[in-house]
Symmetry: C2
Subunit: 396 residues, 2 copies
């Protein structure tokens, strides 16, 4: 018989996917250029030319059996070394290649990190607003995801609620900064307060509480934003990274787990990831992509368009009277809807060909997400639609 658990999951429809499908259908009618689709976090800028050149060079110069041969299950040693050195140089860490485990994107990284530091039934806490995929990511490991309600004032951590919810069963805290969907970076003060509190509780409970730091947007920072590397503040940190956003390579599924060398059992965790791999069928990310990424490890795509778009949208939102925390990075913004039920608000917006995502599935009802990884020209055209929508529906 087919698995009842996975069959049941088919019933839960993704709001984001439904909206995206609506956008596609509507595009067939009025032309996709006239649908202002803010639903999907799919990078809109090209990979750096250097990446394509490296790929071409590898394909034309390397022996195919070497190039396409099995990667060792932990990743190609030279690739892991380059990543360790890059992180050390940028964030003043002391990783060696033995602290880097290559994964198929951040999803693969989290799949391994959570299994490494939890037993079935353990709790993992995350902070709203949060990426809704954390639910299947965590639930299917056997651990239990609990969501700390948001601090909607500035989208930093709601420490009052967090301290109430932290208990002996919590094995890990999953954070995401720069944050999807708010675009906010947790400040040094926030991370320090989090780290201090966790250290205190680790002593009290007599076991580690790991931070699993999901960092796919780490490189997308706007003017004035501080670059905060979480592992600098807390030893028991597993950093989960993906090149999907920084290099605009989401389809190629390449990322890593970086284990803080000062972390408890740091000498075991990467090898344990290799064991986990055997059970979940990863084994190793594609060899060719590993080799190519290692050659452009300090580059990023030209992501300036995201900041341009953010400024245009933010100013317009403020002009129109929205309550909105200004993003520090990413390509998301998370304003408050103009009526209590953001689902109703977003549904009305569809009539103006604006595809906005209600905040409910992000654990933050009453807000909505805009993913502005689209062309600036389109953003500009969308703003008059936004104005029309607001004026017609809420300023009658």
């Amino acid at each position: 018989m087919i698995s009842q658990k996975y069959k049941k999951m088919l019933e839960g429809k993704s709001v984001i996917r439904e909206l995206s499908e609506f956008a596609t259908e509507r595009g067939k009618v009025i032309g996709y250029e006239n649908v202002f689709d803010y639903s999907l976090g799919n990078p809109s800028v090209p990979v750096p030319k250097e990446f394509t050149q490296v790929m071409m060079d590898l394909l034309s110069s390397k022996s195919p059996t070497e190039l396409h041969g099995y990667s060792p299950s932990l990743g190609i040693p030279s690739v892991r070394k380059k990543i360790a050195e890059s992180l050390n140089g940028r964030f003043n860490m002391n990783y060696s290649e033995n602290h880097i485990f290559m994964t198929t994107g951040a999803a693969g990284a989290i799949a391994h990190a959570v299994r490494c530091v939890t037993e079935p039934g353990d709790e993992v806490l995350t902070f709203a607003p949060f990426f809704p995929e954390y639910h299947p990511y965590i639930d299917l490991t056997g651990a239990v995801l609990k969501v700390v309600p948001p601090n909607t004032e500035d989208f930093q951590i709601n420490f009052t609620m967090f301290e109430e919810m932290l208990n002996e069963k919590v094995a890990a805290v999953l954070i995401n900064s720069p944050n999807n969907p708010s675009g906010v970076i947790y400040s040094a003060e926030t991370i320090k307060q989090l780290a201090d509190f966790l250290r205190k509780k680790e002593k009290e409970y007599g076991h580690e509480i790991f931070i699993i730091s999901d960092e796919p947007y780490r490189e997308i920072l706007f003017e004035g934003a501080d670059s905060i590397y979480v592992s600098n503040y807390y030893n028991n940190t597993l950093s989960c990274y993906s090149y999907s956003k920084s290099l605009s390579l989401p389809g190629e599924r390449i990322g890593y787990v970086a284990v803080n060398p000062a972390c408890k059992d740091s000498d075991l965790i990467v090898s344990m990831c290799g064991q986990i791999s055997r059970g979940i069928g990863h084994n190793c990310p594609p060899s060719l992509i590993q080799l190519a990424v290692a050659e452009v490890v300090d580059l990023t795509a030209d992501m300036s368009v995201y900041e341009t778009n953010m400024n245009l949208i933010y100013e317009k939102l403020i002009d129109l009277g929205f309550t909105c925390v200004k993003p520090d990075g990413t390509f998301y913004i998370f304003p408050k809807a103009l009526e209590e039920d953001a689902k109703v608000f977003c549904k009305k917006a569809l009539q103006y060909d604006l595809i906005l995502v209600p905040g409910d599935s992000f654990g933050c009802p009453g807000y909505f997400r805009m993913a502005y990884c689209i062309d600036t020209e389109k953003v500009e055209r969308s703003l008059s639609k936004l104005e029309e929508f607001v004026n017609s529906e809420y300023r009658k």
Copy 2:
């Protein structure tokens, strides 16, 4: 705290890996060309030139955001369609793209297939000799792998033992033909007998018993061998494929699950694979590799060297008095050792720089595996070593 389950797995050392490490170390002393390393199943022939050309063409002609964008979680529709059509043409099936789920190799395919059709605690039966990685593949899904003892006469299925072991808790049967390590193909009679018996038991138990058919060696067939497509014989079949061996692309992690359209719940299984993906962190195999493989879907690498090597080795083994079933395909052969304990036999062989793998971990003690995906020139040189080994140790 770190997971005790995965920590414990670190204690179990892979015999194959240890032997391969020995070979590397020995190679540093006497030159790797003088180590006759039959331990690893790593293809020795290059990917077809057409694949490299397609990759270059894609990289130089496609828009990077399109080329490297997210694949839909079930795989790129055009790729799934091409694979379905290729299978239909070759094996007289009637797959549509909706029956194909793209995976990261056969390991990824099995990870999804097993989760689709089992509940925790269900039994999965496999047949010795079998690929030892089936243990972590199955154990970590929550199902329980049980191994049917071998039929060492011809390495077909031991039906006496199988019929004894099949019971109501068995949700799936995992088969691998052409077989690693024996190189044998299950005959049409074997598959028919298996299918008939399973259909009878499905009725008796009132639930499906799926065949999960692991087929990475499907294209490596020797002269006179029949090409048997398991799904032709049994509706409730999930075929797990990898391009690792047929295209010599093991590092690029690309394969699929093909769900027989006549299978129970065939309309749900591929979508369920997409749900499973979310929990184990795959999401989708690399876009670029999907697109490239789709263009060479009916090609294989030139694998004639494997048959040449097999014939050389088989003849020598028979000459030297070994008991050995002649392989029908793959790049493995699985002779009987010349003493009861194959571990002792293989250890002695190391003194002659012959790296052979004892059959114990394949569920078949007393036998040993040779993976002859190496240059023919090296095979030829190894045979005098083999003769020297046998004569010195067993014909004194």
